[in-house]
């Protein structure tokens, strides 16, 4: 089975965000770029699935500028067999990224796609859904358990309030995974050596037949949220502080 894993490179969670001068994006200067944390679970799930099936390949795909090659090499070092880079130098939106990914999945003859449930930069959580629809495949998201057998995926997804669904879907399918599904492995030393030399296949949007496509949404007016002001630290013995807190929450803040 040809397994495709979608990988996005995002700023590390400890990044302090600064807005660019034209307010159309964030300052990219001193950002530490990492693999989107949810995509690490997707890579691991791809590798595990291949190991369980004892056949197939894992191909990681990333859309972005040249820096994303580093994320692809990390995934190869973890054990991915192949890597594809959709190299772009224009503004993209979720729609256009999904269009590009759909073409790559077709070119690479993908039969199963894993992705993270969302990227922690734009927080759209929409790429996998678009992709599934563009490929006309079934999909499941927020997946915390996943078994692939011949032609079928059986997954569990989180719903809300502690409820989960078991969902059965025929492959090919798109499966977006959540934290907790597995523990991503570390890259091995031979893996790192292999990754350094690995040839990475590059596609342009034109190669994918999308040379004249434009994004359908435009971002602007990036802004930082207003800083919260530190409020009051209560004083007195603990019992008095708790009593005072309850009074304040009720009478001043009116939230209980």
């Amino acid at each position: 089975m040809n397994i495709i894993v979608l990988v996005k490179q995002v700023p590390d969670t400890e990044t302090k965000i600064k807005i660019s001068g034209d307010k159309k994006s964030i300052e990219q200067g001193d950002i530490k770029w990492v693999i989107n944390p949810y995509d690490e679970f997707a890579i691991e799930q791809g590798l595990k699935t291949k190991e369980t099936l004892k056949a197939g390949t894992v191909t990681v795909v990333s859309v972005g500028p040249d820096r994303v090659v580093e994320a692809l090499r990390t995934a190869v070092a973890m054990g991915a067999d192949n890597a594809c880079h959709v190299k772009i130098d224009q503004e993209m939106d979720t729609y256009l990224v999904a269009k590009a990914l759909a073409e790559v999945v077709k070119k690479e003859a993908g039969q199963l796609v894993f992705s993270g449930k969302q990227a922690i930069d734009d927080d759209q959580a929409a790429t996998f859904g678009y992709l599934a629809e563009l490929l006309n495949w079934p999909s499941a998201s927020m997946v915390v358990k996943c078994e692939i057998t011949n032609g079928k995926a059986v997954v569990q997804r989180e719903v809300e309030g502690g409820t989960r669904f078991t969902i059965e879907l025929p492959t090919p399918a798109v499966i977006a995974v959540d934290k907790g599904i597995n523990t991503p492995r570390y890259a091995s030393l031979p893996g790192i050596m292999k990754a350094k030399k690995k040839e990475i296949k590059t596609y342009s949007l034109a190669d994918l037949g999308l040379g004249s496509e434009k994004p359908k949404t435009t971002a602007s007016d990036f802004a930082l949220p207003p800083e919260r002001q530190a409020g009051k630290k209560l004083s007195g013995d603990t019992t008095a502080q708790v009593k005072e807190l309850v009074r304040l929450l009720r009478e001043e803040a009116k939230v209980i």
């Binding site: 359908k216 009720r250 939230v255």
Partner: protein, 320 residues
Amino acid sequence: MSIYLIAEHKEGKLKRVSLEILSECIRQGVEPTCVLAGDGNMDSAAQELGKYGAKKVVVLENAELKNYSNEGLANAFHAYLSKQSPTAIITGASWVGKDMLPRLAAKFQVGLAADCTEFKVSGGISARRPVFAGKCSQSLSFSGNPAIFSVRPNVLALGEPKGSAPQIEKASAEVGQIRAKVTEVLSSGEKKVDLTEADIIISGGRSLKSADNFKILFDCASVMGAAVGASRAAVDAGYAPHDMQVGQTGKTVSPKLYIACGISGAIQHLAGMRTSKVIVAINKDPEAPIFQKADYGIVADLFEVVPLLTEELKKLKAHS
């Protein structure tokens, strides 16, 4: 302008976020057409929409929608909405909205904005949404029709329930081919309040020291009708499951009241809860960054404070 609100219900009971979106549209002088889909039993949800000002509710029915299906819902909404030439389609950013909406947007070949906290549907359409889990926000404008976006629950105010019975139009939902099928619903036992929809959240950090100790938070939460959250440190230590995690790699929440117990306030945690209306910090360490963001702070051991708080809240409840 022809604005459509995909209203959401759970077993016939309307989700509050649908009313929040409806109220905001009406405040902007726009009357959206509301659309419900399901296997039946949606009359009270339709009436509820009428009460909050909806004039017209379209009810799409099909027995195949008894179980959740992102394909079935997207197909049904697309089959109906593509005949209406909508300028905007709005729904709640619940797990259903998040799962179904990208499929609908792909069918219309348009972009989408997920989890918006502000939107404009009068004099042009745009939406504003947090990115980087709320470390900053962006406006999105749309090219092509319809504009499609989802709205975060608990952010927009409800209007006055002074409307009357709406005009209800029933049609069959064209669900198309459903391949991914829900075969089983697994419940963890007790009904928990969902974090993203909770009015009050009490969260614990690594200082809780064990999964068992989270019980003191659950006890306090049950008095207030609150949900219990956890920091990434507590989840990674195995004290709480990931569905309780608040922060950039967990859930982004904006309750009326957020009580952080033994949480230092790492940047990625603050990102997930900074839009809470009132923040209370309980921490032994007076230098913890969380105090810089908290409206009220208690510098003390949470194992002492939380049980006292539970007792005080019980007293309050007994008197009210």
